[in-house]
Point group: C2
Chain length 139, copies 2
DNA sequence: CTAAACCTTCCCGTCATGGGAAGGTCAATG
DNA sequence: CATTGACCTTCCCATGACGGGAAGGTTTAG
């Protein structure tokens, strides 16, 4: 199966497949006489695995580890679980950061008239105006 | 004020200041006779503005627009508010994606024994096992 | 005067991905 | 059988927002 079919069959773009090969995430596939890549069913399964793992936000490096655990029949599930939990923690941290940004901006937005006038608490905040806009107790 | 002091005064690294200049986010500062950058108070205010905007997740391109709005005394606050709302929407979308990832992984993790045994619903899921692990109604 | 601590520019690496050029191969159609 | 279009190959470049570090000039403290 050439790279185009493999791409269709797995949802991983041809570009990505070549990239994954180049960084050692997948083993180089077989080649035909004319030097076309030739993917086996097993290769396709690896690609599907990678695609799913990417969709869960794992980095290529993490997936590399996950792939070897997958291939190791004697892996302790402990290791996999630890990776998953670490990744969840990373995600949660990033989510929290972004939540803080969004919340701060929502606050500022709420206080901005959003009309033709130039007065704008959002810009005031960015400019470091001490009189920022958080409807809270301003003593 | 040279770039080191400016960096200390604004919390923007010297590298970043040069970068912002190179991409046209800030105007090139004055230079001393010996070609050192020489920042004015106004430059520092711009840098602080940028720092705050970056901390709210705005891209350099968006900040470029925000800076011109800030400098324009006749800006309609409508434009600023629109940018803020768009950015909040972007953040929310990304947060939602990451939440979905984290939730899915938490589900899988919960079902993984995490011990010495090799059986692992996380790997099964990545491998596309139809018998995935979502404690739900499996008919 | 010298050495440390600055500054300058320039180039490379990150991470996962897309774009595109130049050139070889395969399949279907005239 | 030849052509054409749709593939494939490798190689290089770009993204965004930085950081690292080299080579060389400047300032400042001792």
């Amino acid at each position: 199966m050439n790279i185009g079919k493999a791409s269709l069959a797995t949802g991983v773009s041809a570009k990505m497949i070549r990239y994954y090969e180049s960084v050692g995430l997948i083993r180089p596939s077989e080649r035909t006489e004319s030097n076309y890549r030739d993917f086996s069913e097993r290769d396709l399964n690896d690609l599907r695995f990678i695609r799913r793992a990417r969709s869960l936000g794992f980095s290529v490096e993490e997936i590399s580890r996950l792939l070897s655990l997958w291939r190791d029949r004697n892996r302790p599930s402990r290791e996999v679980k630890a990776m998953a939990e670490k990744h969840v923690a990373d995600l949660d941290a990033r989510i929290k950061e972004m939540q803080a940004m969004a919340d701060a901006l929502r606050d500022l937005s709420r206080c901005c008239a959003g009309d033709d006038r130039p007065d704008c608490p959002i810009l005031s905040d960015l400019a470091g105006s001490p009189a920022a806009a958080s409807q809270g107790v301003t003593p």
